[in-house]
């Protein structure tokens, strides 16, 4: 809400500095978004009278003007404009002046003749025809004859004002107008507020002789008032009104239109003016639009309407989008003689949905959307008629149309002063509360500790003690709040089991030199394409955002790998040589599509690594550590993710469930991300890790007897998975086998084609005694013999 300080002063005496006023309003809940001092934009420009014009000796187009600026001596200014004449009143920018277009004017010589400033055109002062007559004429702006030389041009143009932009919270629609803000200013400064008390002259007549109104939807139009004004005298508004409108960023048009705008800005109640001649059948019907019905609004745009939209129609067609914008067909014209003036209350959500659907947002619609006061409808009408009367703009017929289904009375709210103090934690005297509430126009008396509050019609937001507490507090001052401790037994708060397990995973990964990343939960609808997933893949079943910010952020992710690949790509392309990343986030898995209920939000871990020294096994090592730390006995099997290298990927299997996959990213997929080196990713579902029951750690005695190491060089088929071979050896060796370690794999010279040599070391130990050679040999022989059954021989 942009508020002109000069306008505000019409209602309330402001005897504090601008800063103080702003601070007091902030403390009362009205944030100041900005302060604009219009005077700053123009400096040292005054009204001048051209006393004498002489031609310039060295130029055929320059003229030398002697200007009276209200001082004893004339000022000489050279101008190139041809429309100047002796006796003309003009704006003169003097030496060291500043113009609104940013120009700085200094004295200088023009072709040898001294010029102590510049005469200004309307354009140089950033004026339009509506701001000042003749402003758009080519040449110097010729001002009104009656202006006195020496007058500051800011005064002439209404630039001696300060505009304060107050932010009004959505619970205070009553403050979307000058009177509303003035009321609050009156409260914070503890000053009376001078609210107009409208009276006006009328001529007798029966309004229904001119027009009838029918409200067919009281639900959407709760109150509709109409008045008729005849013998209109359309002319420009007086300067004071023009200044007010301009300060609010509105353009003056003519007295009638300006009055409707002025009243809206002053009272918060939007008004609408119809040219009565254009109301067909002399009938106004408030009704829902017919499906497909059309209207062309004042801005000359045609809209196609739906049944949900409320219109103000005449006997034939819609004349107005109710509460939003008038129709072009019935607007006030220069020759309009009869006015039908509307003041009404329209339902806020209907105005909002219509305005949104049609993409139209006006000063009027934004006020109806926030909510207007049904009692203000009449006040605004009276105020408009008062202005019509004062400006002698027409003859007001003395009868009124006022349709509604009941009006509102001030509500009585009883609140105990103690309960207000209990909520605040303070001990404010009841009499202080009474004073504050009365200043806020809430007529309040106290009876035995009970505050009897009469809530005015414009304060729908006040429903109970909490609201009364807030009203008292914001005026009493939040600086009185002193911190206290919450009472009660203090125990340390708990974290959920899931959070504790996530913490554990993060700690382990950080110890493995990994860095945590954070990426958006939504991805592009095309993000999955590089993964080359099978059509039937579950990950294709994504939830789409109905109103995304663009395709890039349109799809809830069902996997984290694509986000990880983007991060890997960013870092690789910024020349970071190596990195390890992880992210723990959610997969969004719909129970059905289209979405009818909340989807599953499942926790998932994604890892990505690249750089020198990184390979499939460094990633696998981290995963092994992770699984061991959760005491999960998982298997690693070959897998077939289409976005991973077909020969370098594995799935992590727990029982019968695949809980994750990992491997080297397929070069084709990597290429889609502009990645030209080997990168490795893993994605692990965390449900099973979170569910894992950690067995308690029970100490096992350290071995008392020495271990025996036996190395075996085995010759097996090249395709033999070594992991399986080690498992086989370990199982065959039985309970004496403490460990089987791999120490070499060799292919090449001395090894037959299609074979490889696998060197392993068995660590054997008994808990009861030192093993004898005989015992060790028995185990080794058994292993060698059993290995033959799977086509593995001892290397000779």
């Amino acid at each position: 809400m942009k508020v002109s300080l000069n306008w505000l002063k019409l209602y309330v005496d402001i005897d504090v500095t601008l800063d103080e006023l702003c601070n007091k309003m902030i403390s009362a809940g009205f944030e100041v978004e900005g302060v604009e001092n219009l005077a700053d934009t123009m400096q040292n420009v005054v009204v001048g009278k051209i006393v004498k014009i002489t031609p310039h000796e060295n130029s055929d187009h320059l003229q030398i003007c002697q200007i009276d600026i209200g001082e004893s001596e004339l000022v000489q200014i050279v101008t190139g404009a041809q429309n100047v004449f002796e006796g003309a009143i003009v704006p003169a920018a003097l030496h060291n002046s500043v113009l609104p277009n940013g120009m700085n004017i200094k004295k200088g010589k023009l072709r040898g003749v001294e010029s102590c400033g510049m005469l200004c055109s309307g354009e140089e002062l950033c004026l339009k025809e509506a701001d000042y007559p003749g402003a758009e004429v080519y040449g110097i702006l010729i001002l009104d004859d009656s202006l006195i030389p020496g007058t500051d041009m800011r005064e002439v143009l209404g630039l001696d004002d300060v505009i304060i932009d107050f932010s009004v919270t959505s619970n205070r629609p009553d403050c979307q107008c000058m009177i509303g803000i003035a009321r609050e200013v009156g409260v914070v400064l503890n000053k009376p507020v001078n609210i107009p008390n409208p009276t006006y002259k009328t001529v007798s007549g029966e309004i229904t002789d001119y027009i009838t109104v029918e409200d067919r939807n009281f639900d959407l139009c709760e109150r509709y008032m109409g008045r008729v004004v005849n013998n209109l005298r359309i002319k420009p508004s007086p300067d004071w009104m023009k200044k007010c409108l301009k300060a609010a960023g509105m353009r003056p048009i003519n007295n009638i239109v300006d009055i409707t705008n002025f009243v809206m800005l002053e009272t918060g109640q939007p008004m609408h003016a119809f040219d009565r001649r254009d109301i067909k059948g002399n009938k106004i019907i408030i009704r829902n639009a017919f499906e497909g019905e059309k209207i062309t609004t004042l801005d000359e745009k045609e809209h196609t309407l739906t049944e949900q939209m409320l219109v103000i129609a005449d006997a034939e067609a819609p004349s107005c989008l109710a509460g939003i914008m008038g129709g072009l067909n019935s607007e006030i014209k220069d020759d309009t003689t009869e006015l039908f003036l509307e003041s009404a209350k329209f339902k806020r959500d209907n105005v909002r949905s219509t305005a949104r659907a049609l993409g139209v947002r006006t000063e009027s619609s934004s006020r109806f959307e926030r909510g207007t006061d049904i009692m203000n409808v009449q006040f605004a009408m009276d105020r408009a008629l008062q202005l019509i009367s004062e400006l002698d703009a027409g003859d007001i017929i003395d009868t009124t149309i006022d349709l509604h289904q009941g009006l509102k009375e001030d509500r009585l709210l009883n609140v105990s002063a103690q309960s207000v103090n209990d909520l605040l934690g303070l001990n404010i005297d009841a009499s202080v509360m009474v004073d504050i509430l009365n200043r806020l126009s809430i007529k309040t008396s106290e009876d035995n500790g009970i505050l009897n509050c009469l809530i005015p019609s414009w304060r729908d937001d006040i429903e109970g003690k909490a609201d009364i507490a807030e009203e008292v507090m914001r005026i009493y001052g939040y600086e009185h709040i002193v911190g206290t401790s919450v009472k009660g037994v203090l125990t340390r708060g708990k974290k959920s089991d899931e959070r504790m397990k996530a913490d554990k995973i993060k700690n382990l990964l950080i110890c493995n030199s990994m860095r945590e990343i954070t990426t958006y939960s939504f991805i592009s609808s095309k993000a999955l394409e590089p993964l080359n997933l099978n059509e039937a893949d579950e990950r294709n079943k994504t939830i789409s955002i109905i109103n995304p910010l663009g395709d890039e952020y349109s799809t809830m992710r069902t996997q984290l790998t694509t986000s990880m690949l983007t991060v890997l790509s960013t870092n690789i392309n910024r020349k970071t040589k190596s990195a390890r990343f992880f992210e723990i986030s959610k997969r969004f898995i719909p129970k059905s599509l289209p979405l009818t209920e909340q989807p599953l939000e499942l926790p998932v871990l994604c890892m990505g690594i690249y750089g020198e020294g990184e390979d499939f096994f460094t990633l696998k090592g981290i995963i092994e550590q992770l699984m061991q730390s959760f005491s999960l006995n998982v298997k690693y099997q070959k897998s077939a993710e289409p976005f991973l290298h077909p020969g370098r990927q594995a799935q992590i299997v727990l029982g019968d469930t695949v809980i994750g996959t990992f491997g080297e990213v397929h070069p084709k997929t990597a290429d889609c991300y502009d990645i030209n080196e080997k990168v490795y990713v893993a994605e692990i579902k965390l449900e099973q890790l979170y569910a894992a029951v950690q067995p308690p750690v029970i100490y096992k005695a350290t071995p008392k007897f020495p271990a025996v190491n036996r190395d075996l060089a085995l010759l097996c088929n090249k395709t033999q998975p070594v992991g399986d071979l080690i498992d086989f050896v370990s199982q065959t060796a039985g309970k004496l086998c403490e460990n089987v370690e791999l120490f070499d794999i060799y292919e090449g010279e001395q090894i037959p084609d299609g074979k490889k040599s696998v060197a392993i070391s068995l660590v054997l130990r008994s808990a009861e005694a030192t093993l004898t050679d005989l015992e060790v040999d028995a185990v080794i022989n058994k292993v060698i013999k059993r290995l033959q059954t799977i086509d593995v021989a001892l290397r000779q």
Binding site: R172, A466, Y478, V486, K495, R499, S513, R515, I546
Partner: protein, 339 residues
């Protein structure tokens, strides 16, 4: 013979003193004490002595022997130390060379700030609870006192996923789920991801993070809210941090306040960090609206409560003076490794 022994003693001592290596001392030991050594030779002649002389000479011989042995041991020890010191000296390294570090890992700055925050609130007895990110209109709006026609719904642009289903615009939704499942006294925080249809720029992101706080019990006051937030702010920004309330509006709290902290850089003087204001806005809070308590089956005549919502991203960027929120989601290693 007695004189001979004394001569040997002083000769041995002189030689030991002159010796400059372990080897030389060992040779002296052999020369005097060895099987064919000079003391041994003298002892072999003991048989020729009288019965009176023998014990005297015997005793003297043993004494001389012990004396020489002690001298040798002393010399040996000195020489060994000398040799060791020489070796250590030769092994000196340049300690200014860089150390050998294992590569480091790190939490994302958002989460390291969150962990700090969780720790502070846990110590004040707040449990940490989580809620779903895809919410129903009921939990995100209606139950929070924002009915369908309420203008406050315009305050946030919401991403919709289906009929009545949306990406939560605030962690406040978790308040309702908590109050439905727990009875007062309630003391929780609920951190998480929230979504609003804001175009991406230096200070806006369609995905960001909040930490919701909720306390409900008998006799909870606005002053308790101040006390709680003061403790939090002082833990985060330093013990002399001041907290200030400004009236504001949120549909789910009444009274509602914006909460400022004194600028961690300048106190309240005003500087470039606080843009001259002296204060930094860090969160919104208020007393839980009676309608919200009622919709969760809690009697507002018996119980009161307060709630607050901390913007984690803003807290993180102000704490670490990060100029652009987009850096948090870009995940450049050179950014991440600073935390």
């Amino acid at each position: 013979m007695k004189d001979k022994l004394e001569l040997l003693r002083s000769a041995a001592k002189a030689e030991i003193h002159a010796a400059d290596s372990v080897q030389a001392v060992d040779e002296i030991r052999v020369k005097f004490l060895g099987k064919k050594g000079e003391i041994t030779a003298i002892l072999k002649q003991m048989g020729s002595l009288s019965a009176e002389e023998r014990p005297i000479i015997g005793q003297l011989a043993n004494e001389v022997r012990a004396d020489i042995e002690a001298e040798i041991a002393g010399a040996m020890s000195l020489l060994k130390d000398k040799a060791l010191n020489a070796k250590l000296e030769a092994e000196e390294i340049d300690i200014t060379l860089p150390g050998k570090q294992a590569a480091k890992g790190s939490l994302h700055p958002l989460n390291s700030v969150l962990e700090n925050l969780i720790d502070i609130f846990q110590s004040m007895g707040f449990d940490v609870v989580d809620g779903p990110e895809v919410e129903t209109e009921h939990y995100n709006f209606e139950a929070l006192n924002v009915p369908a026609d309420h203008p406050a719904r315009d305050m946030q642009d919401t991403f919709y996923l289906g009929p009545e289903l949306l990406l939560r615009t605030q962690t406040s939704a978790a308040q309702i789920r908590t109050m439905e499942t727990r009875k007062p006294p309630i003391r929780i925080i609920s951190p998480g991801r929230v979504y609003r249809a804001d175009e991406v720029d230096a200070t806006h992101s369609p995905v960001f993070h909040q930490v919701e706080g909720l306390v409900v019990d008998k006799g909870i006051t606005l002053c308790d809210l101040m006390g709680t937030l003061e403790k939090f702010a002082q833990e985060i920004y330093g013990s002399d941090t001041k907290v200030r309330f400004r009236p504001s509006f949120f549909p789910f709290t009444e009274p509602s306040v914006e909460v400022d902290v004194s600028c961690p850089k300048c106190g309240t003087k005003g500087c470039n960090m606080c843009k001259g204001a002296g204060w930094i806005e860090i969160l919104g809070a208020g007393m839980v609206h009676p309608n919200v308590l009622r919709s969760c089956g809690i009697d507002p005549e018996v119980y009161t409560g307060f709630a607050f919502g901390i913007g984690l991203d803003r807290l993180t960027t102000t704490k670490h003076k990060i100029s652009d929120i987009r850096l948090l989601f870009e995940n450049d290693v050179r950014f991440l490794e600073q935390f």
